[in-house]
């Protein structure tokens, strides 16, 4: 599904990613871990098409197509979803209306008819129930004044509505208390199937107790320095990042 080959990237002239290669197949969950500043979030931003990050070498193929040729919205419409580490507050844009716009943008792209507001409201209510989100979040402005936990839940709600083929969750677990983490993880798990894939970017092993990865990769100084299965995460937890980085 996703092939990252020898990816080099820089921001404002500083090289952050120095040759990352990663192959992700349908149905897989990959966890990308690493200390602060290792390049985890840069990888997520590159995948989502952030304009401030410049790819200086290598390539990314998504379902055989060159991802780097696509604008952010084209990537989204192609089925890539990025859960932000810091979801952006957008005052004045109604949450439910925005979700419907995003949902219908995808439908239009697939030559399907737009869903009418009433049907969409039903769909939205169902997904919100799954995430134990109160109805009032429909009427509020997108992420505006939401607590950290509410924002992260709202990201997963967007993911649940958009049903992406590939989701990249950038530190979705940070800032969540254990109850919220459990709800978010359950939400993510319920969206899993054999046709989609997930990249979890995280600093802590804790999330992986709830969402079980097939592969764990450790990034350090812009390179994947170790890959393994879930046992690698546990080992990292007990021995710390020094174990792989020195």
């Amino acid at each position: 599904m996703l092939e990252i080959k020898d990816l080099h990237a820089s921001v404002e002239g500083n090289e952050i990613l120095k040759g990352i290669s990663l192959s992700i197949k349908k149905g897989e969950i990959h966890a990308v871990m690493g200390p602060n500043g290792s390049g985890k979030s840069t990888l997520a931003k590159i995948l989502s098409g952030h304009p401030s990050y410049e790819v200086t070498g290598g390539e990314i193929l998504f379902e055989g197509k060159n991802l780097l040729d696509l604008e952010a919205e084209e990537r989204s419409l192609a089925g890539i979803f990025m859960g932000f580490q810091y979801p952006v507050e957008v005052p004045g844009v109604n949450n439910a209306e925005f979700l419907r716009m995003a949902f219908n943008a995808r439908r239009v792209k697939a030559d399907e008819e737009e869903m009418d507001p009433l049907d969409f409201d039903e769909l939205l209510s169902e997904k919100m129930k799954m995430l134990k989100m109160e109805n009032k979040y429909k009427e509020r402005s997108l992420n505006d004044g939401f607590s950290g936990g509410e924002k992260k839940k709202n990201e997963i709600l967007q993911m649940a509505i958009l049903e992406p083929k590939l989701a990249i969750l950038d530190e979705t677990d940070s800032g969540l208390d254990i109850d919220a983490l459990r709800i978010v993880a359950e939400g993510v798990n319920s969206l899993r199937n054999d046709n989609n894939a997930l990249i979890l970017i995280t600093h802590y092993q804790r999330l992986l107790d709830y969402i079980k990865p097939d592969f764990v990769h450790v990034i350090h100084q812009g390179k994947i320095v170790k890959s393994g299965d879930k046992a690698l995460a546990l080992e990292l937890e007990s021995q710390g990042y020094d174990w792989v980085t020195t």
Partner: protein, 434 residues
């Protein structure tokens, strides 16, 4: 020095024009006209550093040679009907070129509330001559000096006007030369009376200067909901002065939506005269090309426990200009005043301008007053975020722009006006973003 020469010739042009007006016959408001004219002479047109016109360049306007309306204007009923809101179709007062046109109006329901300004009661007459003598805005003086007849809309005590009253100002441009129109309405609200008003300004073509003055006199406990929609022809000038006097516990809630023209200026002069009165002024303008809208606000808190709230938002694109010059004056003894003032500007191009001068003058020691201004562009972070959810760059920008204006537009309590503004005002930007 050059300024002075231009201005003095501009003033004498208007004085000459006024002589012509007098030659046409004695107006019912002749005395008031003369008072206003002499005030006009005292005030003179503003020079470029004039305190009230810091951000408004009136040179082009005052240098224009105006003629008197010849009364030949005709506006089709269809044109008028197309600008009447469905909810107001039985209660609409139509002004053509600044003059009340009973034939085109639908005022059966409110006939008993209307009277010509020249037949107003002594209280209103005294008020008019006092304000004409002490007028602080030269364009308002000019308006009064040229106003042959106005209208008084009186609501008796304990009366609520049912439904919504629309005032439609239609200006017919004159391609041959420019004409000034001077509509005048005095709204007299009795104790505990209420009214809802929508005002709309439109033009058939450019080349006119609509210079309106309105006075709102609210007795104890009166309540007003007032929405103004400014959609004049692009090649026109629009000046309006709205004077509001509020007695005990009176409430005045106003929203203004402006589409701009070559020079639009709204002047609000508000006096919270007695305890417990409240004013709310909201405004939104969406400007493109060389359009301009300027807001000038003076709110005088003269009594304790009064509330004033101002929120203005401007979306400025192209070479457009907007300005806000607002002062809240909390007089001595006006304790427990609550006043806030906020102006937000969204700049969409490199060549647009937004000038802002928020100001507080406080002479009491137990008050709560805030003021603030923001000037900014589309937030890149928000823009990108929306795009990662599948919205095109254009759709995302539009959504952010609309949402900026929405918080003001949605305070308007008339759904048909909100719908119209969504359809027309905000559509202006979509065309531009293509």
């Amino acid at each position: 020095m050059t300024d002075t020469l231009v201005e003095s010739s501009a003033e004498s042009a208007f004085l000459d024009l006024h002589k012509k007006l007098l030659e046409q016959g004695r107006s019912a408001l002749a005395e008031l006209q003369v008072t206003a004219l002499s005030r006009f002479e005292e005030l003179g047109f503003p020079h470029s550093k004039h305190e009230m016109y810091t951000f408004v360049n009136t040179k082009g306007l005052v240098a224009t040679s105006f003629s008197l309306p010849d009364g030949s204007a005709s506006v089709s009923e269809d044109f008028v009907a197309s600008h009447i809101y469905p909810d107001c179709k039985d209660q609409c007062l139509v002004f053509i070129d600044g003059v009340f046109d009973r034939g085109l109006s639908r005022c059966e329901g409110v006939n008993s509330n209307l009277m010509p300004l020249s037949e107003a009661d002594e209280e209103v007459k005294a008020y008019l001559s006092e304000t004409a003598e002490n007028e602080n805005d030269v364009f308002a003086s000019l308006s009064t000096a040229f106003c042959d007849e106005g209208l008084v809309f009186k609501v008796e005590a304990n009366t609520q006007i049912s439904g919504t009253v629309q005032i439609l100002f239609v200006s017919t441009g004159n391609t041959a030369g420019s004409v000034m129109h001077t509509p005048r309405i005095v709204w007299q609200l009795g104790k505990l009376s209420e009214i809802k008003v929508i005002e709309k300004f439109v033009g058939t073509e450019g080349g006119y200067f609509i210079n309106s003055v309105q006075d709102w006199l609210l007795a104890e406990g009166a309540g007003v909901s007032y929405t103004q929609v400014q959609m004049d022809s692009i090649g026109s000038w629009h000046f309006s002065k709205v004077r509001v006097y509020l007695n005990r516990n009176a409430r005045f809630h106003s929203s203004n939506a402006s589409s701009g023209n070559q020079l639009a200026r709204h002047h609000y002069e508000v006096r919270l005269k007695e305890e417990g009165s409240e004013i709310r002024l909201n405004g939104v303008s969406v400007l493109d090309d060389k359009e301009q809208v300027h807001n000038f606000v003076r709110i005088h808190h003269e009594a304790p426990q009064c509330i004033s709230h101002q929120h203005f938002k401007n979306i400025v694109n192209g070479h457009a200009r907007s300005s806000f010059d607002g002062t809240v004056i909390v007089c001595q003894g006006a304790q427990l005043t609550s006043a806030d003032q906020l102006v937000n500007n969204l700049m969409l191009s490199n060549d647009c301008h937004a000038n802002n001068k928020p100001n507080l003058m406080i002479f009491a020691d137990d008050v709560k007053c805030t003021h603030g201004v923001t000037v900014g562009q589309i937030d890149e972070g928000q823009w990108f975020y929306l795009q990662t959810r599948g919205l095109s760059a254009k759709a995302a920008k539009e959504l952010l722009t609309r949402s900026f204006a929405k918080s003001i537009i949605e305070t308007i309590e008339f759904p048909e006006v909100v719908e119209e503004l969504n359809d027309t005002l905000l559509k202006k930007l979509e065309a531009r973003n293509d």
